[in-house]
């Protein structure tokens, strides 16, 4: 069924994004820039991983997919549909903050729309998650502003993280082959429409913070993630994530 395949693809990419970004954000736990930010990143990481769990649960309960632990911890790199933005390593707080800013505004807009999806389990979940994402975007916006207006150095660091992350952020909106089906079935109006709304939103915020929005018309979006072509960073991430669980395939933990 076309409708089912379309919804499944949407759920997988959303779940995979959430799991991998949650994993990345959890890398700050214990070593964040301030105790408050350490706690904030841990809390957002838990939310994201929780979202992944709930999305995989829908796949399990409504589409006959394996259970969330198998979907999250036992698939190969070639089965993941996350975008490249979430895969990039956690090396620097400016990049993590900007990634969180760019991704969570897209995520917030996506869930806002999905509240009205004709597929009830997803609409219900979207209503719930939307509220959580609101705190994430608020947090991102406050910190982007704080650091953009902190001093010259912090402003420059945030600006260069935005420039660096933007082509990857555009990869969030890599179109799916099911766009039309999703529109016809009144699930989701499509990645293109989402990107347009997102650009408007973040452009305003970036400029309000005194930063510059890169000219996205001349950027080459980093695509491929949705088709399971990944950066070289995903494989090691998954190897690390599954280190314990691979010790014994039949054990329960």
């Amino acid at each position: 069924m076309h409708r089912d395949e379309a919804i499944k693809e949407l759920l997988f990419k959303m779940a995979d994004d959430a799991l991998i970004l949650g994993h990345r954000n959890s890398e700050w736990t214990g070593i964040g820039p301030t105790l408050e930010e350490d706690i904030a990143f841990s809390s957002m990481a838990q939310d994201k991983i929780g979202h992944a769990f709930q999305l995989y649960t829908i796949l399990h309960e409504h589409f006959g997919e394996a259970n969330p632990d198998i979907l999250g911890f036992k698939r190969s790199e070639k089965e993941f549909k996350c975008c490249h933005l979430v895969e990039l390593p956690t090396v620097d707080y400016a990049f993590s903050l900007v990634r969180h800013f760019l991704f969570d505004y897209a995520d917030g807009l996506r869930y806002e729309e999905l509240q009205n999806a004709s597929f009830e389990p997803l609409a219900q979940l979207a209503k719930k998650i939307k509220g959580e994402i609101k705190y994430h975007t608020m947090h991102a916006n406050v910190w982007i502003k704080l650091l953009a207006q902190g001093n010259e150095e912090s402003k420059a660091r945030i600006q260069s993280a935005i420039n660096e992350a933007m082509p990857y952020a555009l990869g969030i909106f890599e179109p799916s082959e099911y766009e039309k089906t999703l529109q016809e079935e009144k699930i989701f109006s499509g990645e293109n429409a989402l990107q347009t709304k997102w650009v408007e939103t973040i452009q305003t915020l970036i400029e309000k913070a005194g930063l510059e929005m890169p000219d996205i018309t001349i950027l080459k979006p980093q695509l491929g993630g949705r088709k399971a072509y990944h950066t070289e960073h995903l494989k090691p991430l998954l190897d690390e994530m599954t280190e314990v669980v691979r010790m014994d395939e039949n054990a329960s933990w």
Binding site: H23, G30, I31, G32, L35, V244, M247, D248, W253
Partner: protein, 329 residues
């Protein structure tokens, strides 16, 4: 974890240095004897302030450094439930550090100064965090037994005389109870699991037993008694009493899971109702305190990394109107 500050009463720095009015001292003692709490704006003896600052600071440092061994396993936790629980747990520990630094700040030392003293190795933290978490089994043992030991200590300390510290500890203990539940759940999953899982768990128990016996500090017969600190309700139970309480509570729980404890001499004397055990290696305890444990250098290197990599954030935030002075608890 864990205000088991090791304070050496023989250290000349810990001697009462200034003459203080007997009247004030008596009134102070009377207040404590009445069960009243000392608050930041109250008069307090210099030595009381000094010892408490050091104790709360070491406790805060322990929470923060304690996040590191477990933190390295967040990215390897084997399923959704464990991954989320571990992030939440380590996040709580960082939150405990935050609460405790706030409590210590009410005594006059800034968080920044405390983090700095931690980083340069001047301030201490619990020895137990200078040991590595080698396997997932260690995470179960830390979550149940190290947190368990910490709770024994923190519950006792929460009855102390300093208001801000007691209130922080009340909040902390509520969260610790949850850590213990999660830790136990994780421990049971491994204990009833495959032979490999059981072995991994038993190995972890074996590795952690000595650090756990060290946790409450040297035996009472070795450590010169700290009567003054007891009278001031800074220290509320002797090291041996706390260790004994821990063994009472946890030995049965370890044995009921079919695990063994790596000390053939461990037994409860039915007459004295006290635990007897082989003497743990106290030379090692002092070696680790002096900075020569398996992970001391690595832990401080991480704190230096945090400082160096985030200096730009701290600088950007350094505006006088953003400095917070009100304690959270």
């Amino acid at each position: 974890m864990y205000g088991n500050a090791f304070i050496d009463p023989n250290d000349p720095r810990n001697k009462q240095e200034v003459e203080e009015s007997q009247e004030l001292l008596d009134a102070f003692q009377a207040k404590i004897d009445n069960g009243q709490k000392i608050e930041p704006s109250d008069w307090m003896p210099k030595m009381y302030r000094k010892q408490l600052t050091r104790m709360i600071e070491q406790h805060a440092n322990s929470e923060l450094i304690g996040a590191l061994p477990e933190g390295t396993w967040i990215t390897r936790a084997p399923n959704f439930k464990r991954k989320m629980a571990l992030i939440a747990k380590v996040q709580d520990e960082v939150g405990h550090a935050q609460l405790l630094y706030n409590a210590a700040e009410t005594l006059g030392k800034s968080r920044e100064a405390m983090l700095n003293d931690l980083m340069i190795g001047k301030a201490k933290y619990s020895n137990v965090f200078n040991y590595p978490a080698e396997t997932w089994g260690d995470i179960a043992v830390i979550g149940f037994l190290v947190d368990g030991a910490a709770i024994v200590n923190q519950l006792i300390n929460s009855k102390g005389s300093y208001g801000p510290y007691c209130r922080a500890l009340k909040r902390i203990c509520a969260e610790e109870a949850f850590h213990l539940k999660q830790g136990h759940d994780n421990l049971v999953a491994l204990a009833v699991g495959t032979p490999e899982q059981r072995q991994m768990l038993q190995d972890a128990v074996n590795r952690w037993w000595q650090p756990l016996m060290h946790f409450f500090g040297p035996p009472d017969k070795q450590s010169v008694h700290s009567e003054q600190l007891m009278r001031w309700k800074v220290k509320l139970a002797s090291n041996d009493d706390m260790r004994n309480q821990f063994l009472d509570q946890y030995v049965p729980k370890i044995l009921e899971l079919g695990l063994s404890i790596p000390d053939p001499n461990l037994r409860k004397n039915s007459e004295t109702k006290r635990w007897e055990m082989s003497d743990p290696d106290w030379d090692e305890f002092y070696r680790v305190i002096k900075g020569d444990g398996p992970c001391n250098k690595e832990r401080l290197a991480v704190r230096r990394w945090v400082k160096e990599h985030h200096q730009w954030v701290t600088d950007a935030l350094l505006r006088p109107e953003r400095v917070r002075t009100v304690p959270l608890a």
